[in-house]
């Protein structure tokens, strides 16, 4: 694990178009039963443009940024040793089908605890107009050699 990674900002990901069926598929996979996640009519009746994604859907977009980090030879992260430590989503607004989202990853901290390293990765997700939608923050623990 390269400690100089702290503060590094990765290039923005390719825009991700949130599809209605993807939202519904994800909603079913996390056992969502709220009609606002599944039914466009119910979503519109509640004042949304289309079906609303479940609170953890942003992980699908964030995943593209974590792939950048893990693929970076400079980072020196062995994927088979990575454990997800914690996760947070802080939203300005919910993700809705039809959104075109871009994510930008910043490595906000790199710490070493004995043989293990901890990386905090912050992905800021914005819409087509550049407005903030949600920030996804993950702490990854990289287990040291036994």
């Amino acid at each position: 694990m390269n400690p100089e990674l702290q503060g590094r900002v990765f290039p923005p990901t390719e825009p991700y178009l949130v599809g209605r069926e993807k939202v519904r598929e994800f909603a079913r996979a996390v056992f969502a039963t709220n009609p606002i996640n599944l039914d466009p009519e119910a979503a519109r009746a509640a004042g949304h443009a289309d079906v609303v994604a479940p609170p953890t859907f942003a992980v699908v977009v964030q995943e593209h940024t974590l792939a950048q980090l893990l693929a970076d030879p400079d980072a020196g992260i062995d994927f088979s040793r990575v454990v997800h430590g914690d996760q947070r989503f802080t939203s300005t607004r919910a993700i809705v089908a039809g959104d075109l989202l871009t994510a930008t990853l910043t490595v906000s901290s790199v710490k070493t605890l004995g043989a293990h390293s901890m990386v905090t990765a912050e992905s800021v997700i914005t819409d087509e107009g550049g407005a903030h939608v949600v920030t996804a923050i993950s702490t990854l623990v990289i287990r040291g050699e036994d």
Partner: protein, 141 residues
């Protein structure tokens, strides 16, 4: 569905409870929906080869389902404005019997000024908690 009234809530109130029966099918479904195809979530041989007690549920699946009772209580998924968890214990999903994950959602803090509440989740499997500091901030205004 009406939004819960902040004035009627007290810290410690249980607002929602639900048990989720996870099976291997649930994990395959989540893998496809999320794009997380790490084989430790569907292959016993791979899980064993890295020293795991069995195939594990994706942490993000546990996080994703644990907030659902709160979504149903608050009435609209867009009211969840902040959600965080710490992954403290894995959920091992037996090929035959699956795994039952239980969620209890309680009021942790009330913020009348911002018209928001912090809901704390207790998420357990096999008698032990699997998520730490699982907190959901919901907008009630």
């Amino acid at each position: 569905m009406p939004t819960p009234d902040l004035a009627s809530l007290a810290v410690g109130d249980v607002v929602a409870e639900r048990t989720f029966d996870l099976t291997r099918d649930s994990l395959v479904r989540y893998a496809g929906a999320s794009g997380d195809f790490n084989p430790i979530h569907y292959r016993d041989d791979v899980a064993a080869s890295v020293g795991l007690p069995g195939v594990l549920a994706h942490g993000m699946l546990t996080m994703g389902l644990a907030v659902q009772p709160v979504v149903d209580w608050v009435g609209d998924p867009a009211r969840v404005v902040d959600y965080q968890v710490r992954f403290t214990r894995p959920v091992v999903v037996d090929p035959e019997h699956g795994a039952a994950v239980s969620v209890v959602a309680k009021v942790g803090q009330l913020d009348a000024e911002a018209s928001a509440a912090r809901i704390d989740l207790t998420v357990t499997y096999d008698g032990a908690t699997v998520l730490g500091k699982a907190q959901v901030r919901v907008a009630l205004g």
